[in-house]
Amino acid sequence: MSAVAEARPWTRPQMAARLASDIPEGWYVNLGIGIPTLVADFVPTEREVIFHSENGVLGMGPAPAKADLDPWLINAGKQHVTLRTGGCFVHHADSFAMIRGGHLDLCVLGAFEVAENGDIANWATSENDTAPAVGGAMDLAAGAKRLWVVMEHSTKDGRSKLVRKCTYPLTAPRAVKRVYTNLAVLEVASEGFVVLDMAAGLSRDELRARTDAELIFPA
């Protein structure tokens, strides 16, 4: 663990910024609750990326200034938001038609675990969670063209959230394409996680030590 201390893990805003830099203009993107929500802050306004919210908002803009707050306009996280010029409103069935129909270029979610085969678990913390809240997570994970996960590399008690096999109930099997953590950016490939990028000062062995899954380093 001490070796990792020398490394400089990315902060949450840095993780969000790193992910945001990979979103090209013109994509339709749904951002989940938590770190994913931060991503929008790092897409420069001149790069037009169209954000979708499950509750029927397409073309969502940033949080309003207090004085401009519209009580009729919230996102799926129940936060007040704005609508960009060119945005529009649809009902829930049409909103999820966009999701399920594969019209979103990207969905970004947080997760409890991501497995090396792309399985994601992000909605229930145990099989015995009696009243788990799924919301739109399963629709998004199954429906978007790409699913990227942004999350801490490890749990608070130090267990890797990148795993060989998920232990928590799945949100969707084989759905994740890419993972952004505080330590690395990883692509899900047929043989395991391919490391695309690492936090400064982190060695391959250190990353392996922190990761409970197969890691592949491109030549």
Partner: protein, 226 residues
């Protein structure tokens, strides 16, 4: 002359009964037909099945209906929030049944009910515990799960504008589940912020055509709480 506008909550609630399935619009603080829920409470109906995205918050609306012991079962996608304590206590005490449905599947099951589609295959929830025991089949190379139409006896809807034919518009994210639920119930009851003359609404911009609406009551409650 067709006139779906009713003058009292009593008229709006005609036929409400024990055991009814109620589709309840709204998402978060927006588009919630809370005054209609209060009217349901007034009717005394119990043993209700409620379909809503959430399981209510605080001690008003759906949460109050549950607290009064009037809800047998809730069908929703997200029964957890910082203020959903009423539901959580009832659920832990085994006093309320819960069916968790992914949000998009919930919307689509009601859309199917409104559109006369009996059931449909969706990729959502395949390979998860929410698909356990459900029929699946591979369509076009993709495994999908069979989901059935979800009908209501009543739908409670919050709209922005309504006319006497029951044509409706909504306000921003107040639209949410409301137009879908309006199509999926035997009796659709609307609380509208504004009652407008027939012909006021743009024929190209009516979101819920009056064919889906049975009763409209004027409830100019103002803005949702922030």
């Amino acid at each position: 002359m067709i006139n779906k506008i009713v003058q009292s909550m009593g008229e709006a609630m005609a036929g409400m009964r024990d055991g009814a399935t109620i589709l309840l619009g709204g998402f978060g603080s927006v588009g919630q037909p809370n005054q209609l829920v209060d009217a349901v409470i007034e009717t005394g109906a119990r043993d209700l099945v409620v379909v809503a995205n959430n399981s209510g918050g605080g001690h008003v609306g759906l949460a109050l209906l549950m607290e009064l012991g009037r809800v047998r079962r809730i069908i929703c996608s997200f029964p957890r929030s910082s203020t959903s304590t009423v539901f959580e206590e009832l659920y832990r005490a085994g006093k309320i049944e819960l069916e968790i449905v992914p949000q998009g599947t919930l919307a689509e099951r009601m859309r199917a009910a409104g559109a006369g589609v009996g059931a449909f295959y969706t990729p959502t929830s395949v390979g998860t515990k929410l698909a356990e025991g459900k029929e699946t089949r591979v369509i076009n190379g993709r495994e999908m799960v069979l989901e059935h139409a979800l009908h209501g006896d009543f739908a409670l809807v919050e709209a922005w504008q309504a006319d006497r034919w029951g044509n409706l518009t909504y306000r921003r994210s107040g639209r949410n589940f409301n137009p879908v639920m309006a199509t999926a119930a035997n009796v659709t009851i609307v609380q509208a912020q504004h009652i407008v003359e027939l012909g006021t609404l743009d024929p190209e911009a009516i979101v819920t055509p009056g064919i889906f609406v049975d009763r409209v009551v004027h409830v100019p409650y103002g803005d949702p709480a922030i």
